[in-house]
Amino acid sequence: MDNIFDSFIENLVKECLQGAKFSYLLPREKNQLAKKLRDHFYDITIKLFLDQLSEQQFNEVKDLDFKEPTAQQKVAEISASIPGFAFVLEDKLKQEMDLILQTGQIAPD
């Protein structure tokens, strides 16, 4: 599963890099940009997750130590309890990719 979601994000990054707005970049610059894009998509995912939480769910995650596997399991579990989150997430990420392709800009967080 992780691999699939990871691949999905990598594909988004790849598509962005192939966009006309970034065609001028050198390979080294594209590598730099890929890191930024990847991180940006991660941030979008985190932000969307937090936005979807109810107050009760938010209270459950806010004090977690996210470096801990148990915390990661907890957020996976909470994420699973948000019906349709996969669709919302995928739409949001694709929308972000479209915006990047269209504007050539990575919006600030």
Partner: protein, 562 residues
């Protein structure tokens, strides 16, 4: 290399520099050149001209958060009382792919692939991110080291797919997951671990005995959330599922794993051992399924075999996934400590059993909600829209009434003192071709009506009625004839959604006259046609009757369409 620091756009290799600037990787000199006043103005103008309207309206024209909240609220009429879907909406939320979504506080709008809702949702979401406490946690997660951050993000993705079991359409990456494959009926990977009976590659034991004889070997330590031991519960002998095969290896090395870690995952001894350990727990899947259902307040005896199977699949998938996480940690730690494969396996087993013994991991309200979603007993959305008013739509007219065609945009209620944002002008939907086929004329063995429950979707209704769905050309007649049979219902509801700005006018119902052609094209594999047929079934109203055709009914309607 561009000239830098001159303060003039013309002195910069503008296109390349702009790309680098946009991407945030421009050299310092380039940044200086681009942000000097003369250049900045031109740069901004160029960028502005490229931005879509919603971006300019939000980010450039600087609408206030209050304005956006109000717009979101006004547009979230669906939050009132519809159910939408390929499924439906509940109070304060919209169903995505058939499952009600609750907790977007402001707009309560979400939709798999519903482009018209995206901006509304984005606005609602952006309002929420303004919440300082959420922003703080966002910054907290952002700031952890990249490896851990990636793990957290992957956990979101992993969980998202669980939560979507029961939803069907639209999601690309979800569709590629084991859970997605399960839902789509094309089993692969973890999706092959359906039910309680596993034929084992790598020594995975069989669970059919549990399924037939009632679950009896509950894992020690599974307790209710309040920490008390679980009292013996009456067990239900769940129906035995068809025998399926687990993939081997069950576990895969995490993406980007160091070579030493990847090597462990390729070791035959590790593969065999991990499969055996995980298989022993998979063997208990019927026990877990029974317990999880009961804890969620669902009586397994009240469920259809399909619902029980879905729950099994969910539990199985969850188990395999959790096992993967535990073994991933064990392998990482083992490699670091230079342990051999057997020691790593021992650690993995220990971690998995510790995890399963932790009552918080499964018996929680979140897991209960997920289970209820899987079996289609979705509870009310957790969060009503706070502060902002919930405008209601007029009641859905009976199916037999003609489709209401809005003459003007619906009057927008006033949820706050903030002045309303300009409403888009909604053109009246084009007239729809008159109905050529009267499904009412079909005999009772060809068609029957089923109630559309909350949180349901067309695919669920069809599957529950005994149809199978492949999401390909084979479904052309199934989808097309059900669109025809339910045309008025679908069309009326869609018009209401358009009228109330829930979906854009571009999402008008496909004209009836085109249906036959679409079906033929879809049968030939035209993906656009298949997509249109699927999209036509996307929105159904809760509480009404949906006509389900038998095979004979499908043939009859196809005959009427020709």
């Amino acid at each position: 290399m561009p000239e830098t620091g001159t303060g003039g756009w013309a002195n910069v290799d503008s296109a390349a520099a702009a790309s680098r600037f946009d991407a945030g990787i421009a050299a310092a000199g380039e940044r200086d050149a681009l942000i000097t006043p003369g250049a900045r103005e031109r740069f901004s103008w160029e960028k502005l001209s490229n931005l879509p309207r919603e971006v300019t309206s939000f980010k450039i024209l600087g609408k206030s958060v209050g304005d956006l909240a109000k717009e979101a609220a006004m547009s979230s009429i669906a939050g009132g009382f519809f159910k939408i879907g390929f499924g439906a909406v509940g109070v304060g939320g919209i169903a995505v792919g058939g499952v009600a979504v609750g907790p977007i506080a402001v707009g309560s709008l979400a939709g798999g692939g519903v482009s018209g809702l995206m901006e509304i949702r984005r606005q609602a979401i952006e309002n929420q991110t303004a919440h300082p406490e959420r922003q703080r946690i966002f910054e907290k997660i952002k700031s952890i080291n990249p490896n851990d951050k990636k793990k957290v993000v992957m956990a979101f993705g992993r969980g998202a797919a669980f939560g979507t079991v029961g939803g069907i359409v639209g999601s690309e990456w979800f569709g590629n997951t084991g859970a997605g494959q399960l839902v789509r009926g094309g089993f692969s990977k973890v999706g092959e671990t359906v039910g309680g009976s596993f034929s084992g590659l790598g020594g995975v034991a069989r669970g059919a005995a549990d399924a037939a004889g009632g679950a009896k070997d509950a894992v020690g330590g599974w307790k209710d959330t309040w920490g008390l031991p679980v009292p013996p519960r009456p067990q239900v002998a769940l129906p035995v599922s068809p025998e399926v095969t687990l993939p081997s290896p069950i576990l895969e090395a995490p993406a980007g794993a160091p070579e030493a870690v990847a090597k462990i995952y390729q070791d035959p001894e590790f593969i065999k051992g991990a499969n055996e350990i995980i298989g022993r727990h998979l063997n208990q899947v019927d026990t877990y399924t029974d317990q999880a259902l009961r804890h969620a307040g669902v009586d397994p005896a009240s469920l259809s075999p399909e619902a029980i199977d879905r729950t099994r699949q969910f539990i199985t998938y969850d188990l395999v996934n959790n096992a993967g996480g535990r073994f991933e940690n064990a392998v990482a730690a083992g490699v670091e400590q230079n342990l051999d494969v057997n020691q790593i396996l021992g650690q993995g087993q220990q971690r998995l059993e510790d995890f399963l013994a932790n009552d918080q991991n499964y018996y929680s309200s979140h897991f209960d909600d997920a289970i209820r979603n899987v079996v289609g007993q979705v509870s009310e959305p957790a969060i009503p829209v706070p502060e902002l008013s919930q405008p209601e739509l007029p009641p859905q007219p009976p199916v037999s009434e003609p489709a209401p065609v809005p003459e003007a945009p619906a009057p927008a209620p006033e949820p706050s003192p903030t002045p309303p944002a300009p409403e888009p002008v909604i053109p009246a939907p084009e007239p729809v071709a008159p109905a050529p086929a009267p499904p009412e004329a079909l005999s009772p063995d060809m068609v029957r009506e089923v109630y559309i429950p909350k949180g349901s979707n067309v695919s669920q209704l069809l599957v529950n009625a005994g149809h199978s769905i492949s999401w390909g050309p084979q479904d052309a007649e199934l989808f097309g004839t059900h669109i025809e049979a339910n045309y008025d219902l679908l069309n009326n509801f869609r018009n209401q959604l358009i009228e109330n700005h829930v979906i854009p006018p571009s999402e008008l119902m496909i004209p009836r006259a085109e249906l036959s052609d679409l079906i033929e094209r879809a049968k030939e594999g035209d993906t656009e046609a298949i997509g249109k047929l699927r999209a036509a079934l996307k929105w159904i109203p809760e509480g009404q009757q949906f006509k389900i055709l038998s095979k004979a009914g499908i043939s009859a309607v196809m005959g009427l369409l020709k």
